[in-house]
Amino acid sequence: MRIGTLKTSYAADEALFDTPVQRVLLVLLALCAIAFPFVASPYWLFLACLCAINVASATGLNLLTGYTGLVSLGQAAFMSVGAYAVAVLEIRLGTPFALNLLIGAGLAAAIGILVGIPSLKVKGLYLAIATIAASVILHFLFAHWSLTGESRGLSMPPARLFGLTLDQPFSLYWLIMPVTCLMVLGAANLLRTRIGRALIAIRDRDISAEVLGIPLLRYKLTSFAISSFYAGLAGGLWAYFFRVVTPESFPLVNSIFYLAAIIVGGMGTILGGILGAVFMTLVPELLKFVANWATPIYPDALAALAPVRTIVFGGLIVGFLVFEPRGLAEIWRRLRRFFHLWPFRT
């Protein structure tokens, strides 16, 4: 039983993983992640990769919206920048995939900074609309530029590593999962630095932050850059995963999806970004199972799947905001507390 905190140094207070139990559990989780591809079917590997990509992007958006308080509805558009950059580099130049990913992410970050420039003057909805505007313009650009294959889009060869071709979920898992883990760890660590603290200060009250001597524009743009870097990287992974990039691959709904993911997971917690993205990715699959199961009883179940998905998507957003505004991460915290304090009531 463990009650309260008993920390005797700042280092212990700042530690990423604070208890020995937690460390052991994380090692176990890592071992499971390594063993997973050897036992899972391709379908589950596919889902795992998809979850990992969404976790990466949602974590980036969480840094921007959850930690800096800047609402963005352009995350999917930044992902498309990364995806297109990777596809074009792979097709035209055939450069190694690690370089492609970094260039794609860097390009997305540059565009993110550009989009973030209005953030000093406008906030809240005005900023959200500015990011929608950016994504409309990017979509238009990709749909009409010969380099990006206009409305047909691009299909690209698979990633190659030391002569191995990464074209199955099994092999792609080893590319996507480590990158995502690194990105999440990077985000968690970023928040322990002065940059992370500055971002949180800006979220809590930007004028106070400015009075404290935090240069607002620089940090807001940094936040935009990091968030779109994450999106670009996730988009690049997405491109290698699906190997077809079209203008319709990243619609506005996807941007809403990522915002919904961090709301459902819990804004402003790293764990929230992970839980939310995984949850929101798996719910449609669950619905598919339910529809398959219900088909003998109700023959139109599969046809009704698409609208039901839309309804559940909206219902999750509304339900979490009204009843559990701090998201799955809060549920997780309560659960942990329960076991820590057991047999006493929380």
């Binding site: 209005p118 809240g124 950016a134 238009f140 009075v211 809403i256 919904a260 839309t310 909206g314």
Partner: protein, 292 residues
């Protein structure tokens, strides 16, 4: 360039712009009274169109009975949403509240698709179809009727705010909630009334738009243009919604005619970005002064 063609495009643009303005007014009404950014406005509009279809074609009522019923359905829906979703969210961050409306929009789109299917539908004809000529320029009769209806409703709203007790109460609530409470204005009721009026207006606009272009579950995209309209005009200004609506309608029509249909959205959003850089609170919006 052909002047007649230009005149016709301009007229059509202004006609579409009036509907933008009408929906924009519905948006501003909610924002002004409750500080809620209602991103579901496009879906509420769609709901109005489908309600009209349900009453007119489904139940076989006369269109002239179905129209007020559809508007009333929109109003009832607004009341329900305000009571069930928005009021519990009072005091939460604006981001949370506007995400609730996004979720609501998604639910509405799904429900409509579940009930009526994903294909676009046509509303029963109920408007006269004699062509309208202004000078020599041809104007589609439905567009002309839409323009007139929008103008009448907006004029009515303006008069209401200026002269009626309710309008004054609404303005007082918008200016300072605490002060409005202390002089005996029933603020929660003002909230309800604003939502009812706005959603009823949006439903009416949905019937007009549906009559011109048909209705489909993806009609909510219209809400995106309306957002541009209200941002350009200023979130809390009815006059701004009017000017912004006409401006965006005109710009879209001109871009559609001279550059091609796919340019419509991108031109309006580019215009929006430029404008946001110059005046961040829109043309007529209130500048917020922040203090510690």
């Amino acid at each position: 360039m052909d002047t007649l063609f230009l005149a016709e495009v301009t007229l059509a643009g202004l006609g579409a712009g009036a509907l933008y303005a009408l929906t924009g007014v519905a948006f501003v009404l909610i924002y002004k009274a409750t500080r809620v950014v209602n991103l579901a406005i496009g879906e509420i509009l769609m709901l109005g169109g489908y309600a009209f279809l349900g009453f007119a074609a489904g139940l076989g009522l006369s269109p002239w009975l179905a129209l007020p019923l559809a508007i009333a359905a929109g109003g009832a829906f607004g009341w329900l949403v305000e009571r069930a979703l928005i009021r519990p969210m009072l005091g939460e961050s604006p981001i949370s509240v506007f995400m609730v409306t996004i979720g609501l929009g998604s639910i509405l789109a799904g429900v409509v698709q579940l009930c009526w299917g994903a294909d676009p539908l046509r509303l029963p004809e109920f408007m006269p179809s004699t062509p309208v000529f202004i000078g020599e320029a041809y104007l589609a009769p439905k567009v002309a009727i839409g323009f007139v209806a929008a103008a009448v409703v907006i004029g009515l709203f303006l008069a209401l705010f200026r002269f009626s007790r309710g309008g004054v109460a609404l303005k007082a609530t918008a200016a300072d909630q605490g002060a409005a409470y202390s002089v005996g204005i029933d603020v929660p009721r003002v909230f309800s009334v604003a939502w009812i009026l706005a959603c009823a207006t949006a439903a009416g606009a949905g019937v007009l738009i549906g009559a011109i272009g048909g209705i489909s579950p993806t009609m909510g995209v219209f809400g995106l243009s309306v957002l541009v309209v209200v941002i350009i005009g200023g979130l809390d200004s009815i006059a701004g919604a009017l000017v912004g609506g006409l401006l965006i309608g005109l710009v879209e029509a001109l871009a559609g005619a001279f550059l091609g249909g796919e340019f419509k959205l991108v031109v309006t959003f580019a215009l929006l970005l430029v404008l946001l850089m110059v005046c961040p609170y829109g043309l007529f919006g209130t500048h917020e002064i922040e203090r510690l």
